[in-house]
């Protein structure tokens, strides 16, 4: 086989990238009591990929050009180039390649943006991008060996390697963000998720998973395990602050330790049309930015600035926000920066990670799934964004356009 000659006479054109569909497993609590104790991380990814293929029957598996799967820890059942192993285990043709990718919490988001960039460039037509984290099997940072220079040269405050500490640091930086505000935000997150479940807004994008814990029979999981509907301010007030005595960050106003996987199909606009694939969102711009590692939670702010600037949009153009709730304080610092109310209905309509959980590298696609469904329900919104803070001091933001909006495709 020889490579097809490339036609260089045409000027290369950037192609539009669309979000076709996304799914995820129900999220579980990490650890021995969790629903996925005894289940492999790669199996969770495989179930997502297979469900995507079933949901999009007009997509021939042989047309998938890449499978990019993120995991923060890439050993054991998340090792061995999980994008490739998951593709093989899912039964995709052997001709479909795959790779593993890591940007901590923004793993799946980076899987999406990286493959999207390649679609825009013309390298791919259709891809699967997603992420997984089985934090029960892979506690955050397990096996990592931080370079001693971080300490000796004060490149990173050692405390910055613990995400809870960085959240406490963020409270220090923004004294207006009190524990009470953080708890109130967390209660609202639980309430919004419960309402979203009630309205059937979460279930359509969940892949049922049959799993068996040691010593038990198989169960079928069709809903998230972490949510605590009915959480009250009073109950949160009693929780301990594990990162600092008399601190502000509690298990109640932060995302938990979780297991779960996500996957999405992205395509060039042309390929989506050719193959008859649905378009849930169009990618407008994306950006990543670094901040001081000790206040990593502020990362979404500079990332969003960059992404807005690239898109030629202002924050007022954004009608829906899906911001990952690693910590309530991190969301609130973002909202304060842009002067958005804590209870603004544009923000996390279905609740967020504080309620649903945050299996690190998988969460990016969950945000996109939810934004896509809100786009469909609210054609008045033209632009939305998904954003998240990232360990070691980063933020990532992706801006999307709603195909259901009247002006969709008129100018971008």
């Amino acid at each position: 086989m020889s490579p097809q000659p490339v036609n260089t006479s045409n000027a290369r054109q950037v192609r539009d990238v669309v979000f076709v569909d996304g799914v995820r497993t129900p999220f579980g609590k990490a650890g021995e009591k969790g629903i996925y104790h005894g289940t492999r991380a790669d199996d969770l990814v495989v179930k997502c990929i297979r469900d995507l293929m079933r949901r999009n029957p007009s997509l021939p598996a042989s047309r998938i050009d890449e499978v990019a799967i993120a995991a923060t820890t890439q050993t054991g059942d998340q090792g061995l180039t999980i994008g490739r192993t998951a593709a093989l285990l899912a039964g995709l043709p052997r001709s479909v390649p795959g790779f593993a990718i890591d940007r901590m919490c923004a793993g799946a988001m980076t899987a999406v943006t990286t493959t999207a960039g390649s679609i825009a460039f013309g390298a791919y037509d259709v891809v699967i991008a997603g992420g997984v984290e089985h934090m029960g099997n892979h506690p955050m940072g397990a096996g990592a060996d931080p370079n001693p220079r971080f300490l000796s040269e004060r490149i990173v405050d050692p405390a910055a390697l613990n995400m809870g500490n960085t959240a406490e640091n963020l409270h220090d930086r923004f004294p207006d963000i009190t524990k009470e505000r953080a708890d109130a935000y967390a209660v609202a997150s639980q309430e919004k998720l419960a309402a979203a479940y009630q309205a059937g807004n979460i279930q359509p994008d969940l892949v049922p998973v049959a799993a068996r814990r040691p010593g038990e029979g198989f169960k079928l999981h069709t809903a998230d395990e972490p949510p605590r509907p009915g959480t009250t301010l009073e109950s949160l007030a009693e929780l301990r602050t594990p990162f600092r005595a008399h601190g502000r960050v509690t298990p109640g106003n932060a995302a938990g330790l979780n297991d779960g996987a996500t996957a999405a199909v992205l395509a060039s606009a042309q390929a989506a049309e050719e193959l008859g694939l649905g378009v849930k969102m169009r990618l407008v711009s994306y950006a990543f930015a670094g901040v001081e590692p000790s206040v990593m939670g502020i990362g979404p702010v500079p990332a969003t600035e960059k992404a807005l600037a690239q898109a030629g949009l202002g924050i007022e153009d954004i009608g829906l926000f899906e911001i990952n709730e690693a910590f309530a304080v991190q969301v609130l610092s973002f909202l304060d920066h842009y002067g958005i109310e804590d209870t603004d209905p544009r923000v996390n309509r279905y609740g967020g990670a504080i309620a649903v959980g945050h299996p690190l590298a998988s969460s990016g696609v969950r945000l996109m799934n939810q934004l896509a469904r809100q786009f469909e329900q609210d054609p008045s919104v033209r632009y939305g964004l998904t954003t998240m803070c990232i360990g070691l001091g980063m933020g990532g933001t992706v801006i999307w356009e709603n195909p259901h909006h009247a002006d969709y495709g008129k100018d971008a």
Binding site: R212, G217, F218, T222
Partner: protein
Amino acid sequence: MSQSTIESFAALASLVPHEIITHSLVEDVRLPGGRTMALLTLDNGFDHTKPTTLGPNTLLELHAALSAQKQRAAAGEIQALGLTGKPHYLVAGADLNGVKSLASPENGAAMATLGHAAYDLLADLGVPTFAFINGVALGGGLEIALACTYRTVSTGATGIGLPEAFIGLVPGWGGVYRLPRLTGPEAAMTVMIENPLNNNRSLDGAAAFKLGIADALFEPADFLEQSLLWADGVLTGATTVQRPNAVEPNGNPDIAARWAAAAAKARAFVEAKTSNAAPAPAKVLEVFEAGATITQKESAALEIAALTELMQTHAFHNTVYAFLDLVQKRSKRPAGAPDAKLARPVTKVGVVGAGLMAGQLALLFAKNLKVPVVITDIDAARVTSGLAHIHGEVDKQLAKGRISSDAANRTKALVTGSVSKDAFADADFVIEAVFEELAVKKQVFAEVEAVVSPECILATNTSSLSVTEMGRDLAHPERLVGFHFFNPVAQMPLLEIVRAEATGEVALATAFAVGKALRKTSVLVADEAAFVVNRILLRLMGEVAKAFDDGTDAKVADTALRPLGLPMSPFTLLAMVGIPVAHHVSESLHAAFGERFHVSGNQEVLISHGIKSLWAPAADGGEEIPSSTLKLLSFGNTPSTGAELLRRTQDALAQEIGLMLAEGVVAGPEDIDLCMVMGAGWPMHLGGITPYLDQVGASERVNGAKFHRDRG
């Protein structure tokens, strides 16, 4: 089930105190359509290396779990029940060692009845029941699925079948009644009769689905999720179950006729395959035929009676001994083999000779060891033709699709030839396959020893010469070991590994390691003439030949040993081995052991006239000894009846095996049986041979004691 019945089962369970219990773990599943399914997982708590099995304790727990779900179904708490297993197994079948230990007919009947009691609950739970066949489902493991209302099966499942006819039982937990109604009688006969008697074959998931055993087929990656979704569709009515193969013979003459025809065809198959030597297949057919016109409950009574009867038979106990104790266990841990850690790595193999046997050996080593193999012979023409033959064999396998073209290339490249034994200089293992004569072999090993390293293992494929004598003049006799294959080398699973007087532990350990890598069943034997298989076969054939020479009718002589269940009659075997070869070995055994081994005058005549077989096709389509052959032969006037010859042969075998054990040829009678099953295809329902000799009284008649004191 009444309380007293349950108590009798509890007594039964206490008879199998060491049963590894397969637990019935029940969880509720909420299906998308809103219904609740109780999902029962069969799991013994171990990984895939310990298959789940069904013993009395397991069945009692299953019965209790299903009874509880039946009550919940009646109360409206569940609308369906699902059944699946731990990864790789639905459930592997009855706990045969446990079943075997239930000595009395009463206990056998109780075990059979307990299975029905549990499975009847699945068939009549008050709500639909679903079996999700995720893996192995053999015997009672498939019958548990057949008792359910619906079944799905995984494309990843292997080992699906009803092997009872092979084991010595009947599919008596409803399988014999339910299977043909799902698949049609013809396919049921394939599953219940033909497959068990064809080396105990089984089905994979796709084949099971195609026959109609399962209603839906899903891939393994999300088998259970898709099965549950499918079950939901069946319950809501969205999915209609199609069973194109399903039939009911009651009141349908056409189906009843198919039933009878399938049974007749299977009966002929059993006759041809086994000479009806074991009772189980006929019993399966009997219950199957009766099942055409009776209810499931009536059939259950017949099945329980058949199981009870067969559980008491020697055939069942012998098969469990041969299959579980020997083939599955002892063959994996050869008696007397040295510590495997002593084995030397073998990175290159030399084969002396380029003839047919040498070619078979070279191919076997190259394919399995995947190391370079050099064949040598005295001239270039023989080497070239030897290599061409080997390459031709590889190409045949490639053409049949058995190996990939990459694998074919690899194997061909591994085998090279040379006219000089210098090519063995860096070999770790050199085996000879030259003419069966001591002086020739000694000469070969002298030449090889001059070239190879002092550590190189030397092996001989001799079938009748003394390995000790062969090594007498070696500088390092401790490196020489006997390595006796059976023809055809690629197919026959047995390897007799011969320890000569001087053979060292390292050479022996290496030989066993190589045998394992060649995927052979290795048995350690002492350096006594003809080792195990040939000595026993020749003793048997000598008895038949002597009876024939003495004037016994050829047909009588050749059929008298039918109860031994031999894969072919003695005269057919003689022709297949080659009369000159068999005669030659008889002579050496006669020389070694005297009159016990008959040297046939008539065989000498046949050889001198170039006659290759006693039997020739007859005008009536049968076979006969042509008059042209008969004219040449001479007979005594002391003919035997078949019964006399059979008894004489039983006694001869008991005597010979008794002597072999006394001589220390093998570690025990189990090794004799393992050799005869794997090397000569002797039947498992006789346990090879020694359990049979015990059961017919030959051991006690001749040796004054049974070979197996603790067995029937």
